[in-house]
């Protein structure tokens, strides 16, 4: 009988020394390439945005000014906030349709409850954010406990939240303190408060993505089983993820009211698909685990700039959707092809 011959020949040669490298050392170029490739999902939307901005700047004066930055940031900010929550959920490998209902509910509550007393307004602003968090946490609990798809659960809560908003305020209306609507307009150091808000958001992200929770969310989206085996609690991660998404939806609602000065029980649905689109353009995979907020923000700006671009191109009205669709497609196509060929050249 010849069962496995032990590894005797090796013993004296290796047992006392460290094993050699597993792979022969890759060339410096290969390391660079793979580093680039690891970041391709961010680099490519950046290049896309820069390309669009260059075209835009060639058609309109003053594109690279603070004014333009202030305007575009205000235009993109609600979407950015909504997409921040969506980004977190997508990184987890889920999806949150309920942000549509939460945004509506948030604007409606703000427009009907703020009154004129700043203290009351502030209290309700916090209240709305808390409601967002609770509603999101509830999503997380339902998804885990009922073992239902996030798509279905958040579809249902979307409807419930929209209905609640509609009961509170049946159609667009209400009012906000006049100081509130000045939020986006006021500037410091030439930058509008929207830009500052964006900066705060970035700081938050830089912090958040390096927290244990931030890592755990990405990890769970990347491989749920591994995350569980490593000690991530399935229900805890869902509560945190969807809770954050609800909080950001509430923040988006509050920001939106500074732009519209009113509440709307239907406005939230405008942000569901675009929030996913912004994230996907920014390099986030629906299958979870990959991407980050910076990509999403760039994605939101790309969507906004495309609108500006179509405006300055002065295409006749019927052609506008076609042109914006084509710009989007060409931009994404270019990046997809670039990424694909980069991947091929490496693998």
């Amino acid at each position: 009988m010849s069962v496995a011959d032990p590894m005797s020949p090796l013993k004296m040669t290796v047992a006392t020394s460290s094993p050699s490298e597993l792979a022969h050392r890759p060339s410096r170029a290969a390391i660079w390439k793979s580093a680039l490739l690891d970041r391709a999902s961010l680099i490519i939307p950046c290049v896309m945005l820069i390309g669009l901005l260059l075209v835009y700047a060639s058609l309109r004066d003053g594109v690279f000014t603070l004014d333009e930055l202030n305007l575009d940031t205000a235009a993109a900010m609600t979407l950015i906030l909504a997409a921040t929550g969506q980004t977190i959920v997508l990184l987890r490998g889920g999806i949150d349709l309920s942000i549509g209902g939460m945004i509506s509910l948030g604007t409606v509550l703000a427009a009907t409850r703020f009154g004129t007393d700043p203290a009351q307004a502030a209290a309700w602003a916090f209240g709305i954010v808390a409601i967002g968090g609770l509603v999101g946490a509830l999503n997380g609990i339902l998804i885990t406990a009922l073992r239902l798809q996030p798509f279905l659960v958040t579809l249902a809560t979307w409807s419930i939240l929209s209905g609640t908003a509609m009961i509170i305020l049946p159609t667009d209306g209400g009012s906000l303190p006049s100081g509130w609507t000045m939020f986006g307009v006021s500037t410091k150091l030439g930058l509008s408060s929207s830009v500052w808000l964006l900066a705060v958001l970035l700081v938050f992200w830089i912090w958040f993505k390096r927290t244990r929770l931030g890592i755990a969310i990405r990890a769970t989206g990347s491989n749920e089983r591994s995350a569980f085996l490593s000690g991530v609690s399935p229900i805890g991660i869902n509560i945190a993820t969807y809770g954050l998404s609800g909080i950001f939806a509430a923040l988006a609602a509050l920001y939106l009211t500074t732009q519209t000065g009113a509440g709307s029980p239907t406005i939230g649905k405008d942000y569901i698909l675009p929030s996913v689109a912004a994230a996907v353009i920014g390099g986030i995979s629906l299958f979870g685990g990959r991407g980050g907020l910076v990509g999403t923000i760039i994605g939101a700006f790309i969507l906004t700039i495309i609108g500006n671009l179509v405006f300055v191109l002065e295409v006749s009205s019927y052609w506008q959707p076609i042109v914006s669709g084509i710009i989007l497609l060409v931009a994404v196509l270019a990046s997809s092809i670039a990424e694909k060929s980069a991947r091929r050249s490496l693998s």
Binding site: A4, M7, D38, G289
Partner: protein, 501 residues
């Protein structure tokens, strides 16, 4: 000496499948305790129970004298138990170091991960245990399977465990890394930890285990001191029957017909100038240290990733740019891939669907699949390879590791391709089945198949292959045959020049 870990009468059922029926296990601090058993015996299930990933239906565990019933993996970790899972518990989209320190990252005052500290801790950990050097900042998904396995080990060690569990941690490792891991495990035990060691390579077990526990069909059938027992007894206890021999008799069956001819074959900078003839009826071994081009050779031949040079298949030039172009029935090529979970198996689909995925045409008539014919193919393959599955409808992801490997092997056999590219086909497979697979390989060769065979276990190459091609730095270093085909010669060819360079 008192027992550190004591498990009695552990049971675990998955619906109608009994994974553990009555498992007893007891081990003490300071020893390496091997847990053996054939595929599907319940070893990994037992480990997962210890690790808090699965809750047992019955039985008790005590750890250092007090009852131990972890609610989740985190609790197990806190109790000082660190498992190296057979299926690995790594996250592809995190970096190497993020994986190692996942859930216990060093934190700053604002609760963020301290990147510098994590890097230092990683390098310190690597240095302390003399890990092979792997760049800590790479995303894990860029790593080869062997590298991932090493990182999984690092992850477990990062917790300074009282109990280290190694579930087939060597199955993807080459000889050098295996030797390193054995040394490491021994060292830990000598320093007072308990190491539970699962492997299908008896040689390794002999080398480091103090004691052995054997599972069969979910129950403990034997436990003994390693010194006091011979291989034959162990194997008989594992399989429930005697086994004559592991390696088949090697008869020369190769003809002069070249099944697969490579000229100037290469893959970017990782493989170059390969001239190689695989003949009809031949088992041609491929050896080399990890990362010297073996997986590139196999993958490129199967149409994954680009390649240069010419490939002749059964005497005719052939371009293979995708697995589809490789898998062309009897005159094509079939591959057992390296990474079974990511490349070989649809874990969420049934054994049946996995087995027949590449050969749907074989049971399709007028565009419609015939479940009876399919069933026949599936049943035959399950019987041939003794795949332990409740029914063919069991999800592949719920099979034991070795049985998953068998499904992949069966899936490849069903393609009827007569050129087989076997990349570590016996990884995680128990001795009994291994012997049968070797026999099968020889039988297929005798029937005119041509087999390219890589194994991380050199002994397999020595005993099963007719010739062994050794790769070094992506080039063909030697072709060993006859007397030359020995572990020592293979290692010499694979390593020497590297050392010199």
């Amino acid at each position: 000496m008192t027992e550190l870990l004591n498990a009695t009468a552990i049971t675990k059922r998955y619906g109608g499948i009994t994974a553990l029926s009555r498992a007893d296990f007891s081990a003490r601090a300071g020893e390496v305790h091997a847990l053996l058993g054939e595929n599907g015996a319940g070893k990994s299930t037992f480990i997962q129970i210890l690790a808090g990933a699965v809750r047992p239906d019955g039985g008790t565990v005590t750890l250092a004298g007090s009852p131990y019933r972890p609610r989740d993996p985190q609790e197990a970790q806190r109790s000082g138990i660190a498992p190296v899972f057979q299926e690995l518990s790594l996250v592809p989209d995190l970096t190497v170091e993020e994986n190692i320190w996942f859930r216990h990252e060093p934190l700053s005052a604002v609760r963020t991960v301290r990147a510098r500290a994590m890097r230092e801790a990683t390098l310190e950990l690597f240095a302390r245990h003399r890990f092979p050097s792997i760049r800590p900042d790479q995303e894990l998904r860029r790593l080869t399977l062997a590298e991932r396995q090493v990182i999984e080990i690092a992850k477990a060690l990062s917790r300074d465990p009282k109990v280290l569990i190694l579930d087939e941690a060597t199955s993807a490792l080459g000889p050098q890394e295996t030797e390193w891991l054995l040394g490491l495990a021994r060292g830990l035990a000598d320093a007072g930890s308990l190491v539970i060691y699962i492997s299908h390579r008896l040689g390794e077990v002999r080398e480091i285990a103090d004691r052995i526990t054997v599972f069969r069909n979910g129950a403990t059938v034997a436990a003994y001191d390693t010194q006091a027992v011979d291989d034959e007894t162990i194997i008989t206890d594992m399989l429930g029957r005697r086994m004559d021999r592991l390696y088949p008799e090697r008869k020369k069956t190769s003809t002069d017909t070249v099944a697969l001819g490579l000229r100037g074959f290469g893959v970017d900078h990782r493989l170059s100038d390969i001239d190689l003839d695989l003949r009809e009826g031949e088992v041609l071994g491929v050896a080399g240290m990890q990362g010297h081009g073996q997986r590139e050779l196999f993958q490129a031949l199967f149409g994954i990733g680009g390649s240069r040079g010419t490939v002749d298949v059964w005497g005719k030039p052939k371009t293979i740019r995708s697995p589809r172009q490789a898998l062309t029935g009897r005159d094509g090529l079939a591959l057992v891939p390296e990474d079974r979970r990511n490349h070989g198996l649809l874990l969420a689909k049934s054994v049946r669907e996995n087995l027949t995925l590449s050969v749907i045409q074989r049971f399709t008539r007028f565009g419609i699949t015939d479940p009876r014919r399919e069933g026949a193919l599936v049943d035959e393959m399950i019987a041939t390879l003794k795949i332990k599955t409740g029914t063919p409808e069991q999800l592949a992801g719920t099979l034991s590791g070795g049985n998953q490997q068998k499904v992949i092997f069966g899936k490849m056999l069903l393609t009827e391709a007569r050129i087989l590219l076997l990349y570590d086909p016996t990884r995680g497979i128990d001795v009994g089945t291994k012997g049968e697979i070797f026999q099968l390989m020889r039988d297929l060769a005798a029937k005119g198949y041509a087999i390219l065979f890589y194994s991380s276990d050199l002994a397999e190459l020595v005993h099963v292959a007719d010739r062994v091609a050794v790769l070094r730095n992506g080039r063909l270093a030697a072709i060993l045959e006859g007397e030359q085909n020995s572990e020592r010669q293979i290692l010499r060819a694979a390593m020497l020049e590297t050392r010199a360079a």
